[in-house]
């Protein structure tokens, strides 16, 4: 049990991104090279000359964590041939939801299609947190952000959350999974499995952000559990043996009401006060039900 992310980084108290990295690296071990999209994780861990990373780590820009990972993988292949070596470090690309769902999607798609041996980990806190909580295509229906504010003409974000794991899986790659920092055994097992493939894999990690979602810092883990127990986020995996067929890995015995999850967060407060926004609440419930049906957890 060695920490590969050192303390002293500047993440907010209760930050899910660092929890995600610690769990991923605990599973991957020290023979790992990481790339990182610009974002909270990059900024909080590497203000020059400080770094919290005990494994090699590289950042260059926001939209290209996957392209960076491609370059590293290609370099290792070439240098192994040139030098007669057989070094195969794990190559893990980290990006937030902005660097994955939105600005990083093209580079991700390209890298997945080219088949590089790499694991792309998206820590999804459902908004652009580093610039101060703006909407992302990962933000869920009804969520307040600073660019999807609630008001007399708006109930927060209108659109559905982009199904990023399905998009990754549609590239017909060996392994795609969803995970949540509140379920470390499940997450680590998926990291190990992902790294066992000689090709690209994608891990979508649910990462509740106390700062952006407006909940107390000690509830980061509880919020992730609540998301899974209400069916808002489903933990599953998919392989190319059975394309687009999710296999659920954590099945709640029965689902708790979605409103329990919504009411625990300030970003959804406007759905309940000053009066209940039944239209949006219904949309959210329908969206959850639809997804649960797709994964086979609801008839």
């Amino acid at each position: 049990m060695a920490d590969l992310l050192a303390p002293g980084h500047r993440g907010c108290a209760g930050c899910p991104a660092s929890i995600c990295v610690r769990q991923v690296l605990d599973a991957a071990g020290p023979n790992t090279i990481c790339t990182n999209a610009t974002g909270c994780l990059e900024v909080m861990t590497t203000p020059y000359p400080e770094t919290a990373w005990k494994v090699p780590w590289a950042h260059s820009a926001f939209e290209n964590s996957a392209a960076m990972a491609s370059g590293i993988e290609a370099a290792y292949k070439a240098l192994n041939r040139r030098n007669g070596t057989n070094k195969k470090p794990n190559i893990i690309a980290f990006a937030g939801d902005g660097g994955t769902f939105d600005i990083g999607l093209q580079a991700l798609s390209g890298a997945l299609e080219r088949g590089h041996r790499m694991l792309f980990v998206c820590y999804d806190n459902e908004a652009y947190m580093n610039t101060g909580i703006q909407r992302c295509s990962s933000s869920p229906i009804g969520a307040w952000t600073t660019t999807s504010p609630e008001g007399s003409c708006s109930s927060g974000k209108t659109q559905r959350k982009k199904p990023i794991a399905m998009i990754a899986a549609a590239h017909d790659i060996p392994y795609v999974a969803t995970a949540c920092i509140s379920y470390p055994q499940d997450l680590k097992a998926k990291v190990k499995k992902a790294l066992s493939f000689d090709g690209p894999s994608f891990l979508h990690v649910f990462a509740p952000c106390p700062t952006g979602w407006r909940f107390p810092s000690e509830k980061t883990i509880a919020m992730g559990k609540l998301a899974v127990e209400t069916g808002v986020f489903v933990l599953y995996e998919m392989t190319d043996a059975e394309p687009m067929k999710p296999i659920v890995t954590v099945k709640p015995k029965e689902f708790r009401p979605v409103e329990e999850y919504l009411q625990a967060q300030g970003r959804f407060a406007h759905l309940f006060k000053p009066k209940r926004d039944e239209v949006t609440l219904k949309r959210i419930q329908e969206d959850v039900d639809r997804k649960l049906k797709w994964v086979g957890l609801k008839p």
């Binding site: 990182n36 990059e42 590497t46 020059y48 260059s60 290209n64 590293i72």
Partner: protein
């Protein structure tokens, strides 16, 4: 050495092959496409057995993957042009800031809009502030040679900067010319394997690469980078000299052509200098004196060499194949500024020529020469920038 007749873009690919790069991430764009095509072919046919060709999905990812590969310790090169270089813009600054010796072949081409695939130098001149070393060739042979030298300069421990080599789109990239192709052994001796000492990604020696610098560090990083670009000058001279010793072709940061004591001197970059040299030959045959300074190394800006070369000039006609809109010719403005504090300095006159593949003809230089001579005679420069060979009826 063997002699081959190839198009310019293929000559660049041949140089790329001779350099035995470890990683080539590239995305096709006219008129540089021959480069990724040939490189992938060399890899597919086993001519580059160690090289990894990465067919990326965009130029942005090409430069991103190049940065990562170079940061890992791999010799890395790519090629692009125009919109592709513009899409790389963000990553060009990053490659330099991270001090990564990436080599890039740029097929010089106009920028949109309107879209135009033909030659001018707007694309790379627009990237002059990025911290890259800039080489410009006049023909395919120079492109090939400069490309080989670019690797040696970029990877020199005293330099460690990305380097781009530009040759004009179509006029050079798609024109067949005879080129001398050096022997692989001779290139291997000239260009030893790249051994990354300052930047690597190795689990046995963990590094953090690409950290962000807060205000108390950032300015020093820019100072250091600016100093690095400036001080690459002597290394470039050294590499040019060594190349000449081994391969017999002489290079310098600028080339002077014509009469050393000429009062009217042209300054230009790239293939148009070939046409201009022909005009100068005709002109001199008539007994009139004229000179040309061709810039081969644009960054670091060759202040010393340019000042020495223009010491006798009375008027300098700067012929730019790009334009800083709202100002004028980029080379003109930089060159004039280089002389601004000198008590004795020539007059400078700005000409814009050959944008978006507009033909450049012998007669154009006659017109430029006459305009410059008239100003010289008047002792005063007509400040209005001259657009050469422009059809005013369309305006």
């Amino acid at each position: 050495m063997s002699r081959k007749i190839v198009k310019g873009a293929e000559a660049m690919a041949i140089a790329g092959k001779l350099a035995k790069p470890d990683v080539v991430p590239a995305f096709p764009i006219t008129p540089s496409t021959t480069f990724p095509e040939k490189m992938s072919e060399y890899v597919a046919c086993g001519e580059l057995p160690n090289t990894e060709f990465v067919p990326v999905e965009s130029e942005h990812s090409a430069m991103s993957a190049a940065i990562a590969a170079s940061a890992t310790g791999a010799r890395t090169c790519t090629a692009t042009s125009s919109q592709g270089l513009a899409l790389m813009h963000e990553m060009l600054f990053i490659a330099a800031g991270m001090r990564l010796p990436i080599v890039l072949f740029d097929a010089n081409r106009a920028l949109s809009a309107p879209l135009n695939i033909w030659g001018d130098q707007q694309d790379s001149i627009s990237e002059r502030d990025a911290g890259w070393i800039h080489f410009y060739g006049e023909n395919a042979q120079e492109g090939l040679d400069l490309m080989l030298m670019a690797f040696r300069v970029a990877e020199d421990k005293r330099v460690l900067l990305p380097t781009m080599v530009g040759i004009d789109g179509f006029v050079l990239t798609h024109t067949s010319e005879p080129v001398d192709v050096p022997e692989q052994k001779a290139v291997d001796d000239f260009l030893p394997q790249y051994k990354a000492e300052h930047c690597y990604l190795d689990p046995e020696r963990p590094t953090t690469v690409g950290a962000f610098a807060p205000p108390e560090y950032y300015m020093e990083t820019r100072y250091q980078l600016d100093e690095a670009v400036h001080s690459s000058g002597p290394v470039i001279d050294e590499v040019f000299a060594d190349f000449e010793k081994r391969f017999g072709r002489k290079y310098s940061k600028i080339e002077y052509y014509g009469d050393r004591d000429a009062e009217v001197v042209f300054v230009a970059i790239g293939s148009l200098c070939g046409t201009l040299k022909d005009w100068i030959d005709e002109h001199r045959a008539k007994g009139q004196k004229v000179g040309l300074v061709r810039i081969i190394v644009y960054r670091p800006f060759p202040f010393k060499e340019l000042k020495a070369a223009l010491a006798n000039a009375k008027i300098v006609a700067v012929v730019d194949r790009s334009i800083s809109l709202g100002y004028g010719g980029p080379v003109f403005s930089e060159l004039a500024a280089a002389f601004v504090n000198d008590a004795k300095r020539p007059l400078f006159k700005s000409f814009i020529i050959g944008l978006g593949g507009r033909d450049i003809k012998l007669n154009d230089f006659e017109n430029i020469y006459n305009a410059a001579s008239a100003d010289l005679k008047a002792g005063k420069v007509n400040e209005k920038m001259h657009w050469v060979n422009i059809n005013k009826e369309m305006l």
